[in-house]
């Protein structure tokens, strides 16, 4: 058996799984310390279906903490972005295409320095350690706690990023985290740099979250390995998350879509996942989340991740409802739902209060919302249905009908029929679909190496690299019959002799749990 946990901004869901079958599922409020919410969820599971700690083979956790932190511009570390490339690249400095609200939320400071490489490995200009120390001193005096370093053509040669990281660490001390762009993205300076800045802004939060998650699971006496789900639906271990939190970014949508596919049995559908803070809408085509084609914008920032194409709007169970206009969100009470919502004796009108008042949900004390005007309630619910229906409509690319599957705890906010789309499907365990998605984990094998590709032998080389990646996935625990190549990237390194090429291949497969 294994446990899948989804920690959202509002709710923590847990499922006890046997293979791809959910034995039991529970839902709890997320707590400010993260830990106690998970402890309670696991205890609830145990109460409903007793198990021994030793029967648990693995704990898989999906968390939307990082994307929520970015979307709400909240709990982000003061971050500096330092780019090596002068005198080139000056026209568009780091953070140039960031929304103003976010760059001020990270107290973003942008620095340009000499360094970087030409495409053929010649230096653009030599690294100037004195210039870097000056920038470091300025970062220090401005309270910077995390730094993103990017360098022109670092996917071809990353030694100046590494060297700069070392100089900055010497100046700033070990408490300032440093993220290097060549470890995070691929060719495309602005996109790779943006992903690195996001990663840097999340580093402090990542340590906090991972500590909390581990402590919670261990406090329950479970010693099985703990994994977190990544954007592509594969698992990573806790140490990896501390360094690369940005890799967990889109795991929420991936998990909810995979969970929706398993629980609804529909291979092609629009998945509407209404959580506590946001509604995420994605399309599932033949069992796989539709990916974005070219640019991927996260919270308005252009990156080059491969991610499911998801539209997020600020509507969730914890969304604050304006008592006059009836507009919903984007502000949310988040995990404070159980103290601040009216039905829990609080003083903030939330979307959950509206659902309870309308008789769609049975939580808290319905008498606390009995005073709400039925016309007002209907207006708010109609507006939610209309906005979500509009968003689904924006996601589909043809007017052909497509079934809509609603998952997530907040999906009680949706009516049984949506304008334009008809019946809304609600699979069994819809409320904990994310946790189910996290638990039907996949494992991956990645090869990232420089190969000398001899003329006429490219096919041979590629076949060999693909086989190596697949073997690695199988060695990591994937069922051989399910392994497939999901990512492939080839960068020629013209400055090296012998047609040197950097090849990156990722293979994934379902985790073999003998069930």
């Amino acid at each position: 058996m294994h446990i899948g946990i989804d920690v959202g901004g509002t709710n923590t869901d847990a499922v006890l799984m046997e293979g791809t079958r959910a034995i039991e599922g529970v839902k709890h409020s997320t707590t400010p310390d993260v830990t106690s919410g998970i402890v309670q969820a696991i205890e609830d599971l145990r109460a409903r279906h007793p198990f021994q700690d030793t029967q648990i083979d693995a704990v898989m956790i999906g968390t939307t903490h990082f994307i929520n932190a970015l979307v709400q511009a909240n709990r982000l570390a003061p971050t500096a972005a330092l780019r090596l490339g002068l005198p080139a690249t000056k026209a568009l400095p780091p953070l140039v295409d960031w929304p103003e609200a976010l760059s001020s939320a990270i107290q973003g400071r942008s620095y340009l320095a000499h360094g970087g490489y030409e495409f053929d490995g010649r230096p653009i200009s030599p690294l100037d350690p004195e210039e870097l120390r000056k920038h470091a001193a300025d970062m220090k005096s401005n309270g910077i706690r995390s730094v993103a370093v990017s360098s022109v053509f670092s996917p071809v040669n990353h030694d100046l990023e590494v060297e700069t990281g070392r100089i900055l660490a010497d100046e700033l001390g070990p408490e300032v985290a440093i993220s290097l762009s060549h470890e995070i993205g691929r060719i495309g300076l602005l996109e790779r740099e943006n992903a690195t800045i996001i990663n840097a802004a999340l580093r402090e939060l990542a340590s906090e979250i991972v500590d909390g998650l581990t402590a919670a699971v261990r406090a329950e006496g479970i010693s099985a390995p703990i994994f977190l789900s990544q954007n592509d639906g594969t698992l990573m271990d806790e140490d990896y998350v501390r360094l690369y939190p940005v890799a967990t970014f889109a795991s929420g949508p991936t998990n909810s879509m995979r969970g929706a596919a398993v629980t609804s049995g529909l291979a092609t559908c629009a998945v509407v996942d209404i959580g506590g803070t946001t509604t995420d809408i994605g399309l599932l085509i033949n069992g796989f989340p539709r990916e974005t084609a070219n640019e991927v914008k996260v919270a308005g920032i252009r990156t080059n991740f491969r991610m499911p194409d998801v539209l997020s709007i600020g509507i969730g169970g914890g969304s604050i409802v304006d008592p006059v206009s009836g507009e919903v969100g984007p502000e949310s009470v988040g995990y404070r739902l159980t103290t601040e919502a009216l039905v829990f004796g609080g003083s903030t009108l939330t979307a959950t209060d509206i659902a309870v008042a309308a008789g769609r949900a049975d939580i808290g004390d319905p008498s606390k919302v009995a005073h709400l005007d039925p016309d007002f309630i209907r207006r708010v619910l109609d507006r939610i249905a209309e906005r979500i229906s509009e968003a689904v409509d924006r996601m589909r690319t043809s007017p052909d009908p497509i079934p809509v599957v609603a998952v997530g705890g907040g999906s009680v906010l949706l009516p049984d029929r949506l304008p334009l789309f008809g019946t809304v499907h609600r699979p069994e365990n819809y409320a904990v679909a994310n946790a189910i998605g996290a638990s039907i984990a996949q494992v991956g094998g990645e090869i990232d190496k420089v190969f000398a590709v001899e003329p006429g032998h490219r096919e041979e080389t590629l076949a060999q690299v693909r086989a190596e990646a697949s073997d690695k996935a199988v060695a990591a625990g994937a069922k051989p019959s399910t392994v497939m190549i999901v990512d492939f990237d080839e960068v020629p390194l013209p400055y090296l002799p012998g047609n040197a090429t950097r090849i990156r291949v990722k293979a994934v497969g379902d985790l073999d749990m003998g069930a």
Partner: protein
């Protein structure tokens, strides 16, 4: 009709220019950001060729180099105007307007940066009618206006003037060598000409066509109409009237190498049904498309890879394993298909053995 272009037009223009880039010409995103930063809330005057005085002096401006370099090494920002000023200084004559040499890709944007910085108008025309990898592949040159003298500028303030007389291939060869030495990207001013020469040798109204294409694709998506129909409808009344759907499938292999300053390679697209493969060869731009080994579109006609649902154009450097795509073939204007034009930028100038064959003869029309 002359018109005013504002920063809010740039996203649509960039989308249309990427489609006309036929896989190359560089991702205009960076060019768009540069233009947006320089332009602010001002407007640029775009001059219709008919409104251009015969004696007006026009200096086109552009960026040259490999698209894979442009997405990584962003300009310092000073280069394009420096190239224009250098050529003005060399010729001893001030420009009355600038103009694109290439309407596809990032070079739709570079003259806008120059226009925003200098206050000069931009002529609504270009010399490629799409994107091409080399500087002599210009209708200007085909119909008698030569590229020399050419001014080239780098991010460190380097300036070089090349004058090869009537030999545009030699001009390209020397400029390419300097561009590689400058790190694979440089900015240029060349093909200085009069208004009368613009009217005689340029492909007219390609900037406004790129904007209309980008706008109609966006509107179609917003209104849930087919963006493919929108493309066909927009082009129906132009010199690019024939649009063909050549293939639908998944990208299964992309091979690239950077050779002599060009991004060369091939992409294989596999169909979902009958197992027939589709192959595209590119040199910065898509050059030739073969289905099951048979040619279905060939340069100078446009071979455009786009997202199979949204029709968002995908550049050769943006091609990735696993993408679901459609391939469109688009016919080029007659002035680009004459024997002298084909000699400059037809199949043989790319080392292809195949003869040119119009795309409208190759496949069924896209959604009649």
């Amino acid at each position: 009709m002359s018109w005013q272009l504002r920063a809010s037009d740039l996203p649509d223009l960039a989308r249309g220019a990427t489609l006309l880039g036929t896989g190359g010409g560089g991702d205009p995103y960076i060019g768009r950001m540069l233009a947006e930063r320089v332009l602010g809330d001002r407007a640029i005057t775009v001059l219709d060729p008919d409104d251009l005085a015969d004696e007006a002096f026009v200096i086109p401006t552009a960026q040259m180099g490999a698209p894979t370099v442009m997405v990584e090494k962003i300009p310092a920002g000073t280069e394009p105007t420096l190239a224009l000023r250098t050529l003005e200084e060399h010729l001893g004559r001030k420009a009355d307007a600038t103009m694109p040499i290439e309407c596809g890709g990032i070079n739709s944007m570079i003259p806008l940066i120059v226009a925003a910085e200098t206050g000069l108008p931009v002529v609504d025309a270009d010399g490629m009618g799409r994107a091409f990898p080399e500087l002599y592949m210009e209708t200007f040159a085909v119909y008698g206006v030569h590229g020399s003298p050419l001014a080239i500028a780098g991010e460190r303030g380097e300036r070089v003037v090349i004058d090869t007389g009537d030999d545009d291939r030699q001009m390209e060869w020397l400029a390419r060598g300097i561009t590689i030495r400058l790190g694979g990207v440089a900015h240029i001013a060349e093909y200085a000409m009069t208004g009368a020469e613009v009217k005689r040798t340029a492909v007219p109204r390609t900037l406004s066509m790129a904007l209309s294409l980008g706008r109609s694709m966006r509107l179609a998506r917003e209104e849930h109409r087919s963006p493919f129909d929108a493309i066909a409808l927009t082009l129906a009344g132009t010199q690019y009237a024939h649009v063909r759907e050549l293939f639908v499938g998944k990208v299964t292999d992309v091979e690239r190498r950077t050779t002599d300053g060009f991004a060369k390679g091939r992409a294989v697209i596999s169909g979902t049904g009958d197992g027939e493969d589709f192959e595209i060869e590119f040199q910065n731009e898509n050059l030739i498309a073969r289905r099951g080994g048979e040619v279905v579109a060939i340069v100078p006609d446009l071979v455009c890879v786009v997202d199979h649902e949204s029709a968002e154009p995908i550049t050769t450097e943006g091609l990735r394993y696993g993408q679901r795509v459609r391939v469109l073939g688009i016919s080029t204007p007659e002035m680009m298909r004459t024997p002298e034009a084909l000699e400059a930028f037809g199949p043989s100038s790319f080392g292809l053995k195949e003869d040119f064959a119009p795309v409208e003869g190759a496949a069924v029309a896209l959604r009649p």
